[in-house]
Amino acid sequence: MAESQGMTLLSGEDDRARLVLSGDWLPGAREDSFSQLLPMLEAQSLQEVQLDCSELGEWDSLLVALLLQLKHYCDARDIRCDTSALPPAIERLLQVASSVPTHQRPASPGLSFTEWLAPRRWLEPVGATFSGFLGFIGETAVAAGRLVVGRANTRFTDFLNFTYLAGPNALGIIALTSVLVGMILAYLGAVQLQQLGAEIYVANLVAIGMLREMGALMTAIVMAGRTGAAYAAQLGTMQTNEEIDAITTLGISPIEFLVLPRILALVVMMPLLTLYADLLGIVGGGLVAMGMGITPFQYFATTQEAIGMTQVLVGVGKSVVFGALIAIAGCRAGINSGRSSAAVGQAATEAVVTAVVYLIVADAGINILLQQLGI
């Protein structure tokens, strides 16, 4: 005899056993489960299991769930399971639950260790990502070409809407980050320059740092998190709602209709936001400089001497590239998104991570190029 809280397996003659179910089977009343019954069943070689419900009290799904597992176990081993003593309601439920055979998920082909290590396995996804990126750039370039000759299905109102969303709506957060970055640059320079008695050059450091590098880069990082992720989420949700399918079957290119206005909006707004960030960064640096005893007049006069149109254009030029890269990363992640809420979340994450990687790589590349050109 084997026993759990509410079930007892009584061994009989001729490889028969009787499973006595007793008491109430309600939530919290007991801890019985099929995993407890399994060792009792496996301990003996059975031909038949008879169910005895004479001592059974109230029950709910827990009991039926256990009996279903028992039925599956018996069916798989050609053990006869006599359910005639069950209450009719349980028997009916068991019939419904067993009416459809259990689905067997097709096994995915396993990889041997050498296959797992094979460089091809790792390089293929990288290659696919790279070719996908190039393909997207190509499609976007073709769409841009059609826009230039006036044949693209790109709506000007969409462009204006995205410009508004990417521009004026972002001024607050850009202002905050730029002032703080300007202050950080000034503090960083002050620590070193004070040792040489050259505090006034903090103005040069902040101005050149903001104009050439930090203004464009920090604006781009903020916009990647703000607008790039929003693009991915919008397009991902449209993919989930089959809106992109509808656009495609209407004979309209989703790249022209959805992607191009977003890219153009960011490409137009990024230089303006960068100039705004440059200005506020210089103001932020000025606040720190004043704390070091430099007058505002001295600070801005030195700044004016330090900067030239080249510095401004370097930052603005970078911002155009950054804007395009952020929009491409966001739109590509959104267009390629899966059709579930989790996939939209993944697309937004992918958009930000990809954009930041693109930004750093592009910034490094542009800086090397500018150095080689002596700019």
Partner: protein
């Protein structure tokens, strides 16, 4: 019922008896799903109350409402399955949240509930990996996980082929009978209405109120409102009385 100052339906008053299969019906845009959302507490009525077993639902505090909701199973129009969770995790969630079952017991019940809706073996699938009809059935499995006393369905058969729709109807009836539950559903699938419902309310979009209430088969033949008879007989011309 209103969204801001826009009144959707007013002067709604009807009773649902224990064990009923109650259908909320009416033309598109009349506020059927909105009424269901009021009944399950997702939207607060602009005026009035909803009583469950004589207890006010609208006036109850959050804790009391959650207690009432534990006895309900709800299946939403698009399933409402959590896409980041497998089917097993979806069905297990209410069991883990509200019962003291052990992990092994939860696994047994999950397998049983999925088997009831013909999805045994799909435990490890994500909602995105299965068809729309299977998602509807999985949503039903989650709705009945806690052996609810009241089952709410928002357009359970919408988008399903006639055979899947019929199977789902049978499943709803079997589930209701085995649980002894009351079923409240929004639908305009006439075969479903006549196959399983024994009580109904008809919401009219034009007058923005209920214009008839009762057994749908009786309403089809004997309703005093022509629009109700036309709706239930699938007649084209609609004249309002």
């Amino acid at each position: 019922m209103a969204y801001g100052s826009r009144v959707i339906q007013s002067d709604l008053s009807f009773d649902i008896r224990r064990g009923d299969v109650f259908v909320i019906m009416g033309g598109s845009g009349c506020g059927k799903s909105t009424l269901l959302k009021h009944m399950i507490g997702l939207i607060k009525p602009a005026q009035g109350d909803i009583l469950y077993e004589g207890q006010s639902f609208v006036g109850a505090d959050a804790e009391a409402r959650n207690r009432m909701r534990q006895g309900w199973g709800i299946s939403y129009q698009t399933g409402g399955l959590f896409s980041a969770m497998t089917l097993a995790q979806n069905v297990a969630l209410p069991l883990e949240q509200y019962t003291g079952h052990t992990k092994a017991q939860v696994a047994d019940i999950v397998a049983y509930k999925l088997a009831l809706v013909g999805l045994d073996g799909y435990q490890d699938y994500y909602p995105s990996e299965i068809s729309g009809g299977m998602r509807k059935r999985a949503a039903l499995a989650r709705a009945i996980a806690l052996d609810p006393q009241v089952l709410f369905f928002d357009e359970p058969s919408a988008g399903l082929d006639p055979i899947s729709s019929r199977l789902l109807d049978e499943l709803i009836v079997q589930t209701k009978e085995s649980l002894g539950a009351t079923v409240i559903m929004v639908t305009h699938e006439l075969p479903s209405i006549f196959a399983i419902a024994n009580n109904s309310v008809y919401l009219d979009a034009r007058t923005r109120t209920m214009i008839d209430y009762g057994n749908p088969a009786t309403l089809r033949d004997h309703s005093e409102q022509a629009v109700v008879r036309q709706f239930l007989n699938r007649e084209l011309e609609q004249t309002h009385e």
